[in-house]
Amino acid sequence: MLHKLPKVGQAIALSIAAFGLSASVQAKTELTMYYPVAVGGSLTKVVDNMIEGFEKQNPDIDVNAIYAGNYNDARVKALAALNSGKPAQLSVMFSIDVHELMDQDAIVPFDELTKTAEERQWLNSFYPTLMQNGKAKGKTWGIPFQRSTIVMYYNKDAFRAAGLNPEKPPKSWDELVAAGKKLTLRNGDGKVQQWGTMIPSTGYPYWMFGALTKQNGEVLMNQDGTETYFNKPAVVEALGFWKDLGSKHQIMPQGTIEWGTLRQNFLEGKTAMMWHSTGNLTTVKKNAKFDFGVAMLPAQKEFGSPTGGGNFYIFKKSSAEEKAAALKLVRYMTAPQQAAAWSKATGYMAVSEEAYQTDELNRYVKSFPAAAVARDQLQHATAELSTHQAGRVRKLLDDAIQSVLTGEKEADQALSKAQQQADRILRRYR
């Protein structure tokens, strides 16, 4: 009878039969996972491939991986699903959402899920700096997955043209300014043809600022996310320096610089250096028509960059089997082999030392040293700004930064006000 049905009908009939069979043979554990993509490139395909590999290894687990937009969208969707009664069991979300997710009572610490000694050991296998944003109240709530730092991309051809050594990118703020002055090219009427450097100030200004403050020897908040240090002298000084790059040294455009178009600016040679996420590395590599290099961000008192990106979280509202399956999935996705393949495909850094020791990544890093810069910078890295009521506190800082860069306010005035407002918000969590 089947051959009389049209092909589509046959396929449907078969799959219904197959579904009925598999359902009757074994009850599969079904997992729903949300994940965001914040940088360009076809990362969804990479994730789908990884999930497929996991399902092959674990035929009793069915994973439904849903691409959920940017970090903000992913959080909104996961939390909405949680409230609607058809929740996801795990999700990749912004590493800095941790305090908020805890306040919402949405997630469980991994310490409660890892039982065997082997699992405990796995929990300790990641780079400690990458764990900072996942830890609070002495427990681990997030496992690093798509993690990045800020690095400095620079145009080696432009360095050569300006008489600079392309293998010696600026290592300090002073060197950055000096090189920037040589790299800023103006035509006869004084119009800039090529800027020295660009640091993006829309989208994630607080993140870039975290790098500048760390370089100036200060951090933006405490580990528990209950206090911010926006008005400390070193922080104010760092913002002053950021503004000076545009207004005093004139090696960067004034006003805010758009996050979304910066990569294109760099690829078209409009800026000789840019600060951007390592998550862009593979795309820049594919599209740059010139010789480019990647370097650690320059230092003032020390080197420094915040980490960034997404962690795995497991939701509280799920059964014990689902939690166990979710843990299995997280372990698979962060295992050295997978982490290595992920890092190679995206430019995000591999999350553990072991991943860099795999053949695949080891060889890749040797042939393309830029891929190791993020890892080497990790020892100087700090946590990304993350507090209770993170969205609101972040916006306070973002607004303060933008008001200074656009010349509306002075650094100390803007940051004192942001600190005062942040204090008011965070008081009840102390």
Binding site: Q104, Q254, G255, N265, K270, R392, D399, Q402, L405
Partner: protein, 290 residues
């Protein structure tokens, strides 16, 4: 009417009423109720706080700034796009060759999705590689950091909005123009009336119902169309281009302050209701319907 017919009428109305109630009226009422409570934390409902949320709004600098921004946004974009729409409609209504193509060209911005359009305009506005600055510099003018300068960010958004809206309103004017009674124009020609007089005394009054309709739509759009903000400025720099609805979104989904978002939504609803009342209650009486 027999009771049977009443029942009939109610049954016919029921689907529409059910949809309206489920997606408009019940959410509006629950928004109003939410605005009197604290934000729920960890699934527990917050306690009743009366008008606290509204008091907070009054003290919130950003709220006043976005309200002010939204006021300017409406004041500039609404009349400009209406005038442009009218001019374009009159032009493409005249007898000329290739007018189908011109009509299509004017209507294209309306067809494109706002997010796609914003992504294109992002690259128009971007300073070093953008179309606008490159053109300006070719003509010998100084390029600007359109979206990165607090004085220019909102006006830049306005320009894009006008470009997007005018074509849409043109269609309404065009339809209205084509339904006008030609004998009036013949009479005007006999009376030797000037073109301006003809427009002022015949076209404009007869188009008033259309203008009112467009005005209402344009004003509502000025408050409810914020898709482009997500791509272009995210309300920045420092809230210079932030609009009320986008601020509501930020509060609800970035800050998880649902109570304050509900409060701001209530305020937005009140503003829109007032505008609608002015338009229907006051202007409508002055409009000439045939």
């Amino acid at each position: 009417m027999s009771p049977n017919r009443h029942l009939h009428a109610w049954l016919l109305l029921l689907p529409a009423m059910a949809m309206l109630a489920a997606f408009t009226h019940i959410p509006a009422i629950s928004t109003l109720l939410h605005s009197f409570f604290e934000s729920p934390i960890a699934g527990k409902t917050g306690s009743f706080v009366g008008l606290d949320n509204f008091e907070f709004a009054l003290e919130d600098d950003i709220f006043w700034q976005v309200l002010w921004n939204n006021f300017w946004y409406a004041v500039v974009t609404v009349p400009t796009s209406i005038v442009l729409a009218l001019v374009m409609a009159i032009w493409v209504n005249s007898q000329m060759s290739g007018r189908a193509i011109v009509r299509l060209a004017y209507f294209t911005p309306t067809v494109l999705p706002m997010i796609a359009v914003a992504n294109i305009w992002l690259f128009f506005y971007t300073p070093e590689i953008g179309l606008i600055n490159n053109l300006l510099e070719k003509l010998g003018f100084e390029g600007q950091n359109w979206l990165g300068d607090p004085d220019l960010a909102l006006p830049s958004l306005m320009v894009m909005t006008i470009w997007k809206e005018a074509g849409f309103f043109m269609i309404f004017y065009l339809a209205a123009l084509q339904s006008l009674d030609q004998s009036l124009y013949e009479a005007a020609a006999v009376e030797n009336s000037s073109r301006w007089q003809t427009f002022r005394r015949i076209t404009w009054p007869l188009l008033m119902p259309t203008t009112l309709f467009i005005l209402i739509n344009a004003l509502i759009n000025a408050f409810k169309l914020v898709d482009h903000l997500f791509i272009l400025t995210k309300g920045g720099p420092n809230n210079a281009s932030n609009l009320l609805l986008y601020y509501i979104y930020e509060n609800a989904f970035s800050f998880f302050d649902t109570a304050y978002a509900a409060t701001l939504t209530t305020i937005l609803l009140i503003i829109l209701a007032l505008l609608a009342w002015v338009q229907f209650g006051v202007l409508d009486k002055k409009v000439h319907y045939r």
